[in-house]
């Protein structure tokens, strides 16, 4: 109050102090549900996105795998009990690749949201940031699990030899790997400032994660050629997401992979929450809004 000329306003203002929403646990759920619903609506509005996400791994499966079928005879190693065809080997890795792309796609849409301003709308919600980010994450995972199963459904015609029970057992594994890749995407979205920079995310995140993993070849094969590369693959969380899903598809549980996936998820989600914190995060440090930078 620096200007005495401003008279005190009529008291009627106080009568309107009535927030319509609720800030309790029910409100949390409504908020979470609303964010997930919006992501799904947007997803179903972009059918090309769904199909392109599906075509990518199918191309790998039908062409790449068919080509390598005879060059790469694959392994007798758990969870497989016999010698398996290359197509059979790559199916889990390709399913998780869908999730990898999806995680990055969600991340990209967060960056886009930030550029067009709808991120601001999200962040004016009275709920805590972690809840808003968690809702984004859950929405992304829902989409990515649906896409992974759509791929498995098509791959089924390709004699992928997955036991029926495996499809069910893999659901929690897909959820876990989707959460992990989504959390990595969330953190990336906080670090990538502009949409254009996303090409480098492809080069420096998606490709290395995918190729330096057990998605396309068993790790013992890699070890034969390079011990260093083998360890890089072992340390790559994507390898563990693939292994978790691979074992689950054959009705088995891989505790180490599970621990790595859960641990990585928690670590990256925590970092993302810190990055989006209004006091510490990117929003505050990285320059002002475009309008004020002039």
């Amino acid at each position: 109050m620096t200007n005495p000329a401003i008279e005190s306003a009529p008291a009627r203002g106080s009568a309107t102090l009535a927030h319509h929403g609720r800030l309790d646990a029910v409100g949390y759920l409504i908020c979470l549900g609303g964010i997930v619903r919006r992501e799904l609506l947007r997803f179903f509005n972009q059918k090309e996105r769904f199909f392109s996400a599906l075509v990518r791994p199918l191309v790998w499966l039908f062409i790449f795998a068919a080509g390598f079928r005879n060059t790469l005879g694959v392994s007798i190693e758990p969870p497989y009990q016999t010698y398996v065809l290359y197509e059979v080997y790559v199916v889990p890795g390709l399913a998780v690749m869908i999730q990898l792309f999806n995680g990055m796609q969600s991340s990209l849409s967060m960056v886009y949201d930030r550029e067009v301003g709808s991120m601001k709308v999200l962040l004016t919600s009275p709920y805590p940031r972690w809840l808003l980010l968690l809702a984004k994450l859950i929405a992304g995972v829902t989409v990515s699990v649906v896409q992974a199963y759509a791929f498995l459904a098509v791959a089924w015609f390709w004699e992928t030899d997955i036991p029926t029970i495996g499809y069910l057992a893999a659901l929690p594994a897909f959820v876990a790997s989707g959460l992990m890749l989504g959390a990595i995407g969330l953190l990336l979205s906080s670090m990538v400032r502009q949409l254009e920079n996303f090409a480098s995310v492809m080069n420096f995140v998606i490709f290395p994660m995918f190729f330096a993993s057990s998605a396309l070849y068993p790790l013992w094969r890699i070890r034969e050629s390079s011990e260093t590369l083998y360890w890089i693959c072992e340390l790559n969380p994507f390898t563990h997401a693939v292994q978790l899903v691979r074992f689950a598809l054959y009705g088995q549980f891989e505790p180490v992979a599970c621990a790595v996936v859960v641990g990585t998820t928690l670590a990256f989600f925590t970092l993302a929450v810190i990055a989006y914190d209004p006091g510490r995060g990117i929003m505050a440090r990285r320059g002002g809004p475009a309008g004020d930078n002039a």
């Binding site: 620096t2 005190s8 203002g13 609303g34 009275p126 809004p289």
Partner: protein, 259 residues
Amino acid sequence: MAGGPASAALHAAPALDVAHVSHRFGARAALSDVSITVERGRFMALLGPNGAGKTTLFSVITRLYTNQDGRVSIFGHGLDREPSRALAHLGVVFQARTLDTDLTVAQNLLYHASLHGIARKAAKRRIDALLDRVGLAERRDDKVRTLSGGQSRRIEIARSLVHGPSLLLLDEPTVGLDLESRADIVGIVRALVREEGLSVLWATHIFEEIEAQDDAVVLHRGSIVARGRAGTIGGGEESLEAAFRRLVAEPRDGARQAA
């Protein structure tokens, strides 16, 4: 918080109190020692040339990022201590268009309602009433993509009101609109102040949108250089526009004295 002096203080608290807020981006000071008070039920114009710090100020008030110095409270709820309560009473119309163009009007508004924890059934009722208010009830199920610029803005105003805020922030809401749409937007917001007792902070550099009895502050290079009733900022000798031009053209020290 029932009864007692604390509750009395909340009832008396202004709609928006920005006290000595400063914010820097690296070495550049975007806001220095800014204080603004929007009283309940008042329309306050925030004037400033481009780059004055208006958007930074809005970002701080909407808690996009926290201010480094000073304090912001909304109806007595400090953004630092009670961000949820503060944000619950705040409605915002951002400068950029922020509706999902692929979704329908209703889907956009329902999404916003859920961000404030409003259940769908209650939200639908409220949305119908608000669409009536902005005169776009018949566009409820149309995709936002099909709306004109002025219509989108009206939808954004409806959206900012979905959760029943008592303070409305608008960041240059009429930029890029034709005269008629501009008049519509101004009319809708003025009616909200008059009829519902809403408090408004309206950033602009279009002087026709400001009336003489409005409160006004002039922000220049991150500092407040003038404040008072819009009609008196020019000291009665010059128009608000002329005064504004003088204030933002002169070096800051001179402008301070004028304030």
